[in-house]
Every structure is written in C-alpha cells, then in structure tokens.
Symmetry: D2
Subunit: 343 residues, 4 copies
C-alpha cells in the first residue's frame, strides 16, 4: 500500500536524521536558547532579506496558527479568513478557544480576494456602534491553500493594501510553503512574503522535517512578548535545538526547495495522468495536492494499492485527494500513473 | 563545560535514534492513529495493570499539564497545587489562560499533605455561598517534586482519600517520573499510580526521549472527548508515531527504568561528595536533582567547568541545582566529585 | 420626536416603579437570596407548570445569553444558531470570548429549520475524526426572532426532536418573549417552552421592566453550579430583589401579557397602514417589530417626527425598523399612521 | 430585625427613585448614548478635574473589576493585588476566567505597601527568562479595603511611583469610595484618585444608588475600545440612562458625599460603643465597616435584633462585621448602641 493520502506520513529527510545523530552526544541550552536555533534564525533572516525579523520555532502548525492569532489580537478583535481556512475547519475551534471570532469569507478554490476582504473589514467601520462588533484586525491566508491553489504576487499585494487601509495584520500559514514556492506558476518569493506580510511561516512537518514550523515575524508590534504566548500555550520545546537544527539542515543548502519542488513535479505527472484519462478535477491545483472526482469503480481499483483521502462528495463521485511529498519517489508515482492509465 | 544545569540538555538515548531511523522509510497514519502509538499504549496499559486506561502522547509537559486540567474542569472549578508546583511557577499562567484558578498551598520541601488539601477543599464546602468561590475539583502533585523530593505510598493513599471525600480528581505530573521510580527510598510503583490517580504521565523529554510525554487516564470521566482538547490546543502531533515509537522503545525492555535509575545513583554520588565536604543542602532530595547552597568562591570554582542552575538565594549563598540525567556519564560525575573534593 | 426605533427607550411600567418605591424602606438579603426573588421564581414555576425548574434573574440579555452557553458547554462543544442570531451578530463575540464556536446556519426570515439543524449536527457524527471538530451541543433560537418572526409549535417540536437525536440542549432567547406570546398567530405557550426547551427566558428589559431577564432552566444538567457561572461573569446583582420584585409585579396579574399583547396590536395597525400605502415589507412579521423598505423621500418625511432604525439597505431603499413596545400609546400610533397615509 | 450585615440591603436614596419617576414618560437613546449619561460623565470629569477622562457606567462592581482588568491586560500579563482583594476572594475567579493570573501579596489590615509591590514586580524583571512568567502590568487596590481601612495620600503616591517604575497601570476599586472619602482620617480627594490612578470608580450600589458603578479612565491606553469589552461581557445596559441619571442625582448637589459621610459618623458611634464595652476589634477601621470579635453569648444577644456578618473566627470568638450605609438611621444606631451597652 502506497500512501498518497497526505504529506506527513513519512519521518524526515535522511539528512535530518543524520544531523540529529551527529549532535546527540553534545549538550545544549534549553527552550530555544541554543546555537542551532540562533544559526537557523540567522539563516532565515538572511534568506528573507529581513535582518530584524524575529524567528521562532514551533513543534506544530495548529500551535503556530492559534498562538500567532492569540498574541496579535485582543478578545474584541477578530481574524478574517476563507471559510475553508484551516483555522476555521480543521483545528477544533482553537481560535475561538483563545477568545477570537473568525469572520469567514466564501472561498473560490480556497482563495479569497482583496475586494472581499475590503468589504468585510469596511462594514465594521461603517457601523454606527462599532463597539458591538469585533474589530477585524488580521487577515489569515494559507499558501498554498487547503485546495492546493496559490495566490499570485499581484493578489498578495492587493490584499496587503487592504490590510494597510484598515490597520490589519497579514498572516500567511505556510504549513506547505515549500510546495507553493516550488510550483511552476508561482511568482512569490520568500522575500516577498517577508516584505508583504506581518508574520508567516516555513512549514517543516510537511516539507521534510520530522516536525516543526519556523515562524517569521516582521511586524514590531507582534514581536514583543511573543515567546511568553508560546510558553503559555506549551509551544516552547524544552530541547529547542531539535527544531533549530532541522531548519538549519533544510535551509543551509536549500534542500527545502529541492525536495518540495520535486514533489510538485511528481504531482504534475499524476495530474497529467488523470487529465489524460478524462477524470474530472475538483479544483485546478499547481502544487502537491491533487483533487479528482472518482466514481465507485475508480475508487475501488485505486484503493487496492494506494491510500488517498476522501475530502467530500459530488453527484459524480467522491472528491479524492492525492498528495505527493518530499518522500514520494519516482517509482511510486510511476506505479500510480500506470494504474491510472488502466482505469 | 559539562552541563549539570538540567535534565533536558541532551538529545535522546541512542536506541531512540536508531528506532526512528529504522522506520524512516515506512509510512504511517497521521495524528496518533498508527501502529506504534497503539503498541506503546498497549504496553503501558499492561505495565500499569489497567487494561481500560486511555493513553495519549504529548509533545511536551506544559501542554500535558494545562490540557489535562482544561479538559477536566469547568471555569468555575479550580485545581489545588503546592505553591511551588510547576503549573503555578514555570508555565506562564497556562492554567489561568484556560480560565482556571490555582488554589495554592504552602509547600514543605516541594510537597503538600493530605491534611492541608483537606482543609483547603473543606473550606469551600463550609461556605454559606459556595457559588461565589471556585469548586476545588482536582489536586495536582509532581512526582518527583520540583525540589526532587518524593511522596510515599502512604502519603499518596491519604491524598487519594481526601480526593474521594470531596469528589476531586488526582493528577500526578510525572515529567521526571523515571527518576522518582528509580530512587532507593521510593515505594510507589506505576501500578500504584494507575490505581490511585485519575491521570498521570510518564515523562519522556527528561527521561531519555527526544521529546514527548505519555499521559495515562484511568478515570472514565476524563477520557471522553480528551483528544478534542488535545487537538484544540495543538497537542496532537501530525506524525504521532514519532512519540509512540519512542515510548515503545523506552518501555519495551524497560530501558526507561534502567537509565533513570542510573541517573539517581550518580546523583547520590554527587550528594555524598557535597555532604562529605560539609556543604549545606537546601533540601534533602533522593532523586536526580540535588540542591546545595554555594558561597561565591564555590560558585566561581565549580562554574569554571560545570553549568548548574541558580534557583534562588539564601543568606549563606545561592541555591545551586545540580542535575544528572539518563545522559550523564560516570566520567562526568567522577570529574565533578573530584572538583567538589578540592573546594 | 417619537421613538419607534426600539423597544427599550422608556423606563418601566408605572406599577414597577410603584413597587420599587413601596419596598424602598425595607431591607433584604443580598445576591438574589431574598423573598421577592423567591416569590417571583415560585410564580414562574407555577406558570410554566414546572415545579422543579431553576429560575435565575439576570440584569441583561447579553449576559443571559453568553452565561447560559458558557455554563452548558465545554470549549470543545459548540452552539448552532441562525446566522442572524443575536449571539452571532450583536453581542461583540461574547460567545467566542467564552471559548465557543457558533456554528451558523443560513436563516429564512430569521428562522432555521429542524432539517437544517439535523444536517449541521449530523455532519459532525459522520466525521472520521470528530475530535478535530467541535461537538454541536446546543441549539440557540430567538423567539420572536431578530426579524420579528415566530416559530410554530410544530416547528419547535421538530427542532426538539433533532436536539434529542443528537443529545443537544435547546435554548430559547426570549428577550422579546412577551411580544411573541401575544401575537395573534402564535400557538406556543410558556408551558410549551418549559416542556420543549432546556432553558429559555422571559425578557423583562424590553417588556415592561426597568431591566432584567428571568432565566428558566428545566434541564437538571444545566442547573448545577449555574449561579457560580453567573457570579463569575458579574451577573449576580447585589440587590437581587430589584429583579425579583419587577418580575413578580409583571407576572402576578399577568401585566406582562397585557402590555406586550397591546404592543402587538399597535404594531399590526402600523403594518396595515404601510400595507395600505403599498410600501414593501422586508419581512412579514406578526410581532412588535415591523420592517419596511423606504425610499429617500419617505425616510425624510417620516424622519421629521419619528425615529426608526435603519437595519440594512436594498436596491429599493433602506430597511427601516418600526418598533412598538409596552410604552407605546394609541396616540403615538395614530399620529404615525396619519403621517404614513400622507406619504 | 435591623440589618447591619452589609451596605447593600436597601433600595436607593429617595431622590434616586424620584428622579427615575420624573423621566419615566420620556424616551432615550439606548446603550449609554443618552443625555443623562452625558451629563453625569461631564459632571464627573469636572469633579475629578480631568476633562479628558472617559467615564463608563456599569451595572455592578464585579463586572467593573474583571472588565477593566480584561481590557487592560493581555493573557501573558497579570495583576498584583492583596491576598484579601475582592477580585481574589469573592468574585468566583472572574479574573482567571478572563485568562489572567492574580499575583497576590500578603495584606496587613487589608492593605499592601509600595515596597511589597516593588519586590513583586521587580522579581519579574530580574528573571533570566521572563517570558516564562506573566508580566505584572496592573496593581489593584480597594479603597476602602475589604477590611474598611484606608490608604493615605502618601501611600498612594508611593504606589504610583512603583507603577511608573515598572510601567504598570494603577486601578482602584471604589465600590465603597464614598465611605472612604467621608472618613475623618482620609486625606485623598477624588482629584487625587484621577491624578494618581489610571482607572478607578465611584461605587453606586453601596453608596445610595439602586445599582451601578461609574468607572473613570484617565489613561489613554485604556480608553480605546473599552466599550467593546463592556459589550462583550454584557455590561452595557440597554437603558443606560438609568445609570447616568442615578449618578447625576447623586453627584449634582453632592448627595453622594453627604450620605456616605453620615454613614461613617454612625459607624464611629458604633465603634465607640464597642470600645467602651472593652470588645476587641479585629481591625481598626475608620469607615462604615466595623469588625469586632464576639463570644458566643454576645453573638446570641446581639443576634436577636440585628443581623451582622460572620467573616471569620479567632480563638476568642467569631469576627463579626457591622456595616452602616447611606440608609442607616440615627435611631437604628441608637438602638444598637443601647444593646451593646447592655452586653
């Protein structure tokens, strides 16, 4: 059985395990105050061309999401997100649990537009009694989205303008950042993300690390006391160097880009195979997640050798997600394509 | 520089890294629904003689502490703890952040007594208007305590009785459980913990794992929807098998006991060296944490080759904590003892 | 200027002020533990035919709403409501502030259906990993709704069935209960509300009292420690008898029904005048709130002598709310009707 | 039976009821946006010599306390208070329920000192890892304290200096402000409170109003979005003018001072009677709350005609609180004194 159900079903890139073994006899300072976290943070600051950025390492993405939001907003402020945003759908109300309303906007292929955000935030400022509503103070985007789609640089800039218009923070969830950066059609660089957002992160868990996310904060407002929010919510790992070392390993020689770009290439091959077979796509995705609509027979046949995730249903069949990852091999994809061709 | 400042300054026992490498080419189900978590949970249930226990794996101890408490209590219920309890002192108000008051009791050598707990909880039930106070609903103990001391079986049983008297849950923070179990004077077994508490945990981070804690829930009340609280607070690791596999490795052949007991033995050697030199102890600890009072000269001399943690001060000098851990070697301890003798 | 903008722009029915004056030289027990709260609660239990109901008096409706919800749900449970529900729109995220997600359902004329609720709650139970979502545990309805509309007894019974199917509490916000009970087309009695809901309330602030709401809890689950939640959130008035006495005065000789029914009658006269004039209604309401669409000229003319609330806009003009209340007089309505006729 | 058990057992000063009746036929804007709230706020700003102060009216004191704190602090910031502070003891963990730790300091006669506060706040800034602790950001004082005692102007200034040293807000709970201002030994004026605190309030519920507290905010930081926090927590009364009108009535001709000062004078008479009889005081209080230690016989005799509150016990008897209030009459006090003399 080959797992295409998600991009977090394998451990870590071998270089990560080697790096962990190599330092296993050494001792380090605790709670992220160590040389590896420092080196990784310096490297990230250099890569994003932002020498003043604060960089913090989180064990996981749900933590990164809700803690960034909790640290940025008071309880009378809210975050704007697509209705399909990960924070709204898959994180067990972690944002509400930290006292914040999510103001949802209907998505198109997982994305929301500057115009929608403008209308949503603008409505608050047109209220006669704004104090009876929550102040929209942050916009949350996923890149790539939960449907594998990408914002363009132009779209991101337009959203940044709306954020500036209303004094809102812009937060990009980069749990799959590598797969977005590596897509052929992508035109946003990490420097752009650092320049256009207030906070974003390099996903590690889904992009080659054992676990971990690297949060990059460029807004001075958000830097202050941020680590206290991390500690309060249990996101400061005692052995923080485990995270710093992993990101240093991934980023030092740009292994991060290499392995995620390769996953995108493999995903495009799968896409082409499905397309050639005339199978309908639920959404057009240029990244490592591909969503197709499979009838019962197709599910049964492909289900014999591959796991994929059923994310919904349509009159024509279920929506099936096929994910590649940094761990996916050419051979696995070739075998899948062969079986798609036989459908 | 040899680090005796804490018990989380080294990576993991080599068998852990080997186990992680061994499965690195395999793929697994996500979010703790995998074979390693299942095997580790089964093993723990067997060890604690509690076939119905729920076992959940957490990345870290602060998460385990506040999520157990948040899941067990409503906002009008509180947890009783020593004033020195980790949840009261070192976790950035994570418990208050989930809406709960900690009712603190003055400690003696890090411990609180059944009589103190009885008085604290009893006061609530003697109020004319109890609804204006929070209902004490859980007792939190650390084993070993933050000062390295241990509860005896008799003391634990007495506390259990008080909990039963008032319908309170008993929660034991076992971040250093191994070092408590391994102490010569300890008379509590893991079966006792399972039988006498509602929830406790096997600490991994400080006891040989890269990271992770194994929470054991025996109370049926606390089992329901527990994983939703974990997810909501970001404590469900995407690659949950990393935690299951580590605990399986530590517990399968009782490596856990072996390496923590050895650390206790080494700590006793350090204790004897300090005692022989006439250095005053801040507290009598039978476990891996030793607290001595050092004058300036002694700090300076020992500070040349060893890191230790200054946890407070007295008129006679600072309180210095020397920790051994599963990673501490005979050689390191011999060198330290040599230098203590030369003080 | 005559205020038709809302139903809380006058003090209290004269009998209320007389009752307050009559007892002003007496002294009473504090925090709702007094004879008037007891008498009012007994009277309510008798009226709703529910001798075991718990009755609590709140200063205001926002407090009643969020505290009922906070006391009933854990943070991993959510409340289902119409997207137009007061708790979702007009209370500054008070529900999210107590850690709960509101699962909104699209309304039709302010109402939601049993089938919609069934689909919403059912989706949770069909999830493979329900712990990553919040458990729907309560349904919130307003009676009358924010648009003045009413549920029928049949609709309420159907919703109760869905609640029973999924183990959900049913909570009816009765801030304007009197105006619903008094409507000609209404077929639900207070006994029905007590029998079919777990908790509902008699609104006082909008129905003749200076201020106050009487919450009736029939579910045993919800009774326990409820007053602690009230106290914790500042809803226990020191001079609780002020609330008990007001409700006793309103309910003793059924002044409550009399004055709210009269307001409904007056609202129907206004409705008929608008209808006769051919003015479009935004929604058909049988209660004290009437919503019409006025063009600019009409707004200007009516705005000279009357205040009304603009609650939205349509291509044909703004949506204007005209409210009657217990304090509205025949003369005021006659004058308004005269001016409508002249439009 | 004459109630001396507290200062909230009577309705309101007759002028308040008259004022409410006088406007009962008028209509007003909702939610505190009305002429009476404006007039009362203007009057307060004038009295405290602070034309820029924000003034908000709350239904009750528990609401005022926790909402001021919730609006001022983030979840990683804490409030320093006496262990006997009302927020720590009598409000059902309302502060913790809004995610804040209370850092308690041992009281002396209900008070804490600048030196104690300095030590408590200073400890945070001496931590190596301050992010693992909550930042002390506010000091909460009660004036008078829960034991009836008063801070002197010199003490208040010293505390203000410590607040400035560490960037902390100073908040004075004035639920009984009138009784403090009216005490013979008091040397702090309302202008002083406005000048030296960031936020304080005039208590109404215990000082002649039916209900209500007038919160005065002088710190610009705290003014922003304050009303949203009020609304979110249900503290914006729909008929806000009820509160504005009461405070206008109390303050216009300084009825507030007159009636509370008289209560202090009566309390001193009771104090003298107890002293003459050789009865021990638990604490020396110059205000309307007197605490004496009564043996069983004394309790029994005085309990026949008077209610008083038992607030604790000592080896020599219970601690009994006798309160006067704006509603206490000369006759009631004369009768009590007669019975004390007969003890």
């Amino acid at each position: 059985m080959i797992r295409f159900n998600n991009d977090y079903n394998h451990g870590a890139h071998p270089e990560i395990l080697e790096a962990l073994s190599a330092v296993n006899d050494n001792s380090f300072g605790g709670y992220g105050e160590d040389e590896w976290c420092k080196k990784a943070a310096d490297l990230i600051r250099e890569r994003v061309h932002c020498p003043d950025a604060a960089v913090h390492f989180f064990p996981g993405a749900t933590q990164a999401n809700f803690i960034v939001i909790a640290s940025a907003l008071s309880s009378v402020q809210s975050v704007i997100a697509a209705d399909t945003g990960h924070i709204n759908c898959h994180e067990a109300a972690s944002v509400e649990n930290t006292n914040h309303k999510i103001q949802t906007i209907p998505n198109t292929d997982g994305k929301i537009t500057a115009a929608q955000i403008d209308a949503c935030a603008g409505a608050y400022y047109e209220e006669n009694e704004p104090e009876y509503y929550t102040e929209p103070k942050m916009v949350y985007l996923s890149f790539p989205t939960e449907q594998g789609t990408l914002y363009s640089l132009e779209e991101l800039k337009a959203i940044r303008e709306v954020c500036d218009k209303y004094g809102m923070y812009l937060f990009v969830d980069g749990a799959r950042l590598g797969y977005g950066l590596g897509a052929v059609e992508n035109d946003i660089s990490v420097e752009d993300f650092a320049a256009l957002t207030d906070v974003f992160y390099f996903g590690g868990t889904k992009c080659g690390a054992l676990f971990g996310e690297a949060v990059v904060i460029t807004s001075n407002d958000l830097k202050r006391r941020f680590k206290a929010f991390m500690k309060q919510n249990g996101a400061v790992l005692a052995k923080g160097w485990l995270l710093g070392l992993q990101f240093y390993t991934l980023l030092e020689n740009d292994l991060y880009s290499e392995i995620t770009k390769k996953a995108d290439v493999l995903a495009m091959k799968i896409r082409d195979a499905f397309a050639k077979k005339g199978i309908t796509f639920w959404v057009e995705s240029p990244t490592n997640q591909q969503f197709v609509i499979l009838n019962e027979k197709q599910q049964e046949v492909l289900g014999q050798n591959y796991t994929f995730e059923k994310t919904g249903s349509t009159p024509d069949g279920v929506i099936a997600r096929f994910c590649t990852s940094w761990a996916t091999t050419e051979e696995e994809v070739a075998q899948l394509i062969g079986d798609i061709e036989k459908l």
